[in-house]
């Protein structure tokens, strides 16, 4: 039950985009058509589901105080370790996809390198570290659930945004507000709509 709760919370209540602004750069830049938004969202969800548990294991068995050597606290290294894991994993996925599925590679290819510097991925790992500290994530399974949930939340946000922006092409917007300006305001309004989920407990 608590696992399900964590899943729902990471998708809707603690949505990466609307609650924490993670991954906004690619969110604004790539949300111009639903098709590309779906592709990027899929790639982010996949990388997120894999890197959060990987970083969880590293955090638990290497970085945490007294984990590796008795009396040594390596947690100040967590930024550099997390980003190295993410960059290496993205590189690995890119090579594997290129080798085994050229079609998927052509669809996702351009997005994969972008993901290494997507704040949503790094943010997911850093939040995971905080939630471990607060006792909300207690084992690898829950870290997978959190990774999947936060990735899906990001996917949901970018696809909804892309759908709205496709329709927006037909509306009359003040010239100065076209492009990023209106995208920000719409995201803000969507964020207000998502606030309705806050406080939901299963």
């Amino acid at each position: 039950m608590e696992t399900l709760n964590l899943f729902i919370r990471s998708i809707f209540i603690d949505n990466m985009v609307f609650a924490f602004f993670f991954g906004m750069c690619s969110y604004i830049a790539v949300s111009k058509s639903v098709k590309t938004a779906l592709g990027l969202g899929l790639a982010v969800t996949f990388v997120q589901t894999m890197t959060v548990p990987l970083n969880y294991l590293l955090n638990e068995y290497v970085l945490a105080p007294n984990a590796l050597v008795e009396g040594v606290d390596l947690s100040f290294l967590s930024f550099i370790v997390f980003i190295a894991v993410i960059a290496a994993f993205v590189q690995l996925v890119e090579m594997i996809v290129e080798k085994f599925s050229p079609t998927l590679y052509n669809q996702l290819g351009i997005f994969l390198p972008l993901i290494a510097v997507n704040c949503a991925i790094m943010g997911g790992s850093l939040f995971m570290q905080q939630m471990v500290g607060a006792g909300e994530i207690r084992n690898v399974g829950e870290s997978v659930v959190y990774g999947l949930g936060s990735g899906l939340g990001w996917w949901l946000a970018i696809v909804m945004m892309a759908a709205i922006r496709e329709r927006l092409a037909y509306s009359h917007i003040p010239a100065a507000l076209k492009g990023p300006g209106i995208a920000f305001i719409i995201t803000g309004l969507m964020g207000i709509a998502f606030m309705i989920f806050s406080g939901i407990q299963l």
């Binding site: 930024f79 704040c119 790094m122 010239a175 305001i185």
Partner: protein, 207 residues
């Protein structure tokens, strides 16, 4: 200081602002703008990291093969961010707690990466350093504007000083706008800043 160097410093403040024109680094920008103090600390941290990352990468630019430059950049940036994080924890612990994961997210802040890629790899160290300071300041400027409105309208104070209470506005029936403290309002304020900025600078408008 030559006028060209000066331009590197001033262009990112308005005409080429990293947040509202280049649309970079929004990720970690908005969540820290509920109050002015963390916003200023965050702006300064990003400025330091951008300036020194630009300086280091500009010095290294001839020695690093382009195939592995991304990983080299990440290591340089991550090392700088760890230094900043440790300094913040040592000297302003309460602000460091408020900023929580967003300090770590300076690593993936697109401004740092973007300026290194777009500027430091082609330019001399001193120009790159100034460019980093300028972009950090442009980012900080937007943060301060957003935080000013959010703190003033949301909690009626500036830097924690209860300005509206001292003015006696509450007795006249004024109430704080609690919505300002929620994340969505930061986005809407930035949207409005872009609107005003582009109304003045018509050359930036999209056709």
């Amino acid at each position: 200081m030559a006028s060209k160097s000066l331009k590197n410093l001033t262009a990112p403040l308005s005409g080429n602002n990293p947040v509202i024109v280049q649309i970079l680094g929004i990720c970690s920008a908005l969540a820290v703008t509920v109050q002015l103090k963390p916003a200023i600390v965050m702006g300064l941290s990003v400025m330091v990291v951008t300036a020194f990352a630009n300086l280091v990468m500009s010095l290294l630019r001839k020695g690093v093969p382009s195939r592995i430059r991304i990983i080299v950049q990440l290591v340089v940036i991550a090392a700088l961010v760890i230094l900043v994080d440790q300094v913040l924890k040592a000297f302003v612990y309460d602000v460091s707690k408020q900023l929580s994961v967003y300090v770590g997210l300076i690593i993936t802040n697109c401004i740092v990466m973007g300026r290194v890629e777009a500027f430091a790899l082609q330019n001399k160290p001193w120009d790159s350093f100034l460019d980093g300071i300028g972009n950090g300041a442009g980012y900080g400027l937007i943060l301060v504007i957003v935080a000013f409105f959010r703190e003033l309208l949301g909690s009626g104070s500036l830097f924690g000083y209860p300005i509206f209470e001292k003015l006696g506005l509450y007795e006249l029936g004024y109430a704080n706008c609690g919505l300002m403290l929620f994340p969505p309002m930061a986005l809407i304020i930035v949207g409005c800043i872009i609107w005003i900025h582009r109304t003045i600078n018509t050359n930036l408008q999209e056709k």
